[in-house]
Symmetry: C2
Amino acid sequence: MSPAGGWVLGVDSGGSGIRVALRRVPGNGPAPTRSSTVPATVGEKGVDARSLLAQVVPAAEELLAGAGARRCEAACVGAAGMAALGGDLHAVLPSALREALGVRVLALATDAVTAYAGALGQRPGAVVAAGTGLVAVGTDLTAEGGWRRADGWGHLLGDCGSGAWIGRAGLEAAMRAHDGRAGGSHALLERLHAVFGPAPELPALLYPRADRPAVLASFAPEVGRCAPADPVSAGILRRAARHIAEAAAAVCPPARPGGREEPPPGPPPRPDGAAGAGGMYEVALTGGLLRMGAPLLTPLFEELQMQLPHARRVAAAGEPLDGALCVAEALLTGDLLLPADPPMLRIVC
Amino acid sequence: MSPAGGWVLGVDSGGSGIRVALRRVPGNGPAPTRSSTVPATVGEKGVDARSLLAQVVPAAEELLAGAGARRCEAACVGAAGMAALGGDLHAVLPSALREALGVRVLALATDAVTAYAGALGQRPGAVVAAGTGLVAVGTDLTAEGGWRRADGWGHLLGDCGSGAWIGRAGLEAAMRAHDGRAGGSHALLERLHAVFGPAPELPALLYPRADRPAVLASFAPEVGRCAPADPVSAGILRRAARHIAEAAAAVCPPARPGGREEPPPGPPPRPDGAAGAGGMYEVALTGGLLRMGAPLLTPLFEELQMQLPHARRVAAAGEPLDGALCVAEALLTGDLLLPADPPMLRIVC
C-alpha cells in the first residue's frame, strides 16, 4: 500500500441519525454506506463519544469486511455540535478509532464544515446548510482567513430563514388571522386547522414538546404550498430568502480589489458547479429546506444575485457524508486545502 | 347586612405568585392585601385548584379576621390559564370557597379579564396586558359582543410586541452583529456580552432553561436603553409598538356608524380616564412592559392614535387584583356590566 493509498472513512452524525461510508483511495466509485436513524446521545458533557462509537465501529468493520480491507488509514467525523459540544469526542475518538480501525490521521469537523466540503469540495466560497435550523460557513482557503461562520444560533436567537423560522412565521400569521389582527393569513389558518386542529389549542400542543423547532419546521411546507396564491405566505418566503442570503453574504470571502472574483466576461458559468474561468467564489445551498422548491428558491436566487454579486451560485455536489469522505481522502493524500481551524476543523495525527 | 352589602374577595393568580384582597361593600377605602411569590401549580390537568386554595383560604381568613368579619359574600378569582387550563378550578373552587369562606357567588375569570376590569372598570373598550407575554381583550359590554381576545399565544406563536418578543429581537440583532450579518446592532452585542457573557455561549445558556421566555424578556430593557442612540433598537421598539396596537385594534369594538365613538367636538377628553362626553371607547395598557418608558411608549402612543382613531387612550386605573375586586363587588351589588362569556368570565352561584 502506497503512503497515499488505502481506505478512508467518513462519518456524518446529526440529529436524525448517523451515517458511515468507506472509500478506496485512489478511486472514485460509489462509497458503500451504513445508516442508522438513532442519533448519538447528547448529555451534560455534550455529544457522547461512547454512543457514537457504538454505532460507528461496527458499521465501519462491516464495510471494511465487505470491501476485503483490514483498516482505515484516515477518517473524518463530522458531527452536529462538534464545535460547542465536542469535548468528549475530541478526548475519546482519536485513540478509540486508532485502536478499533487502525485510523492514523483523523479530522474532527463540525457538521457545517462537512456540509461545505460535500457541497463545494475544497474550492473557496460559501455554503448555507438549511433544514430545521440554518448555518452558513465560508472560507477563502487561507490559514489567516480560516473559516467564517454565521447564524446557527437556534430557533430563538436566529436560524433566520430556516424551516423552523418559516414555519413559526406561518403559524404566527395564521394566529393573526384567527384573532383578526393585521398581517394575518386565512389560507395559513386553514392549513393550521388541517394540520394541528383548532387554532386556540395549538399552544397546548406545541409548548410541552421537547422538539418544538421540528414541530415549527413541519409547517414550513404549508407556507410554500400557500405562497403562489397567498401574499402573506409569499412575503414570509421573501423575508426568509433575504435572511438566507444575508448569512451567505456574511461568510463568503469578500470580493478582492484585483477583480479576480468579477464575473468572467466570457462563456457563462458551467452548470456542473465546477470552478469556472475567472476563479469566482462559489456559493451553494444544501439541506432539506431546498425541497420547498420554487416558492422559496425563486426569491432566494434573486437575493443571492443581489447580495453576492461576486459569487457564482452552484449546485451542491454532495451531502455532508460526501464531505466527510472528501476531507478524509485529502488527509490521506496530503492535499488538504480546507483550513484546519479548530473548533470548526481539527486534525489529529 | 343588606343583600347588597358585605365583604368581597379578589384573587389574582399568575406566574409570579398569588395576591388576595378583601374589600367592604359599600366602601372605597384601600383593600387589605396578602401576597405570595409562589405561583399555583400547573400540572397535566391545568392549574391545580388545591395548590391555589392552600394559599387563598388562609390568606382570606387572615384578612377577614383582621377586618373583624366572618364571611365573604362574593369573590372573583382571576387566573392565568383560566380559559384553557381552568378545568380543575371550575370543578373545585365554587364548593370549596363556599364551605371555607361562605362565598355565595363566584366569578372565575381569565387574568386578561381581571386586567381589563382593573384598568377600565366596567367601561367598554380595549386593554392590552403586556409583560413577558402579551394579550389584548376588549368588549362593547353587550351579551352578543361578549369578549374579544387577541394574541396571548406564547413566545413561539405570538405575544407580538411583548417583553419576550422585544428581548428576542434584540438578541437576534446582537447575534447578527456578531456574525457580520445585515441588520445587526453592535450596541446590543455589547449589552449581550455585559449581561450574558460571550455571544457564542448564549445558546448553551438559554436553550436548557425552562423559563426561556423570561430569559428573553430580561433583555428587553437593554433594547430600551440602547434605542435613543441605536437605530436597530429603535426599529425593534417601533415594530413592537405596531404589534401592540394591532392587538388592541383587533379587540376594540368597531366605530359605530352612528358616530357615537367619534371624538367629541366639545371639550378635550378628561385626563382622569373616566368616560368623557361623546362616549368614545377607551383603550388602556397595563403590565410590566410599560416600565420601558418613552422609548417604547412614544411610538406606541403614535401607533394607537393611527390604528384606533375612534378610541381614547386612558391610563389604567388599577391592577388585575383591583379588577378582581371590581368584578366581585359588581356580583354582590347586582350591577355586573362586563359580559359573562365563558371561558373568559364565568359566574357560579
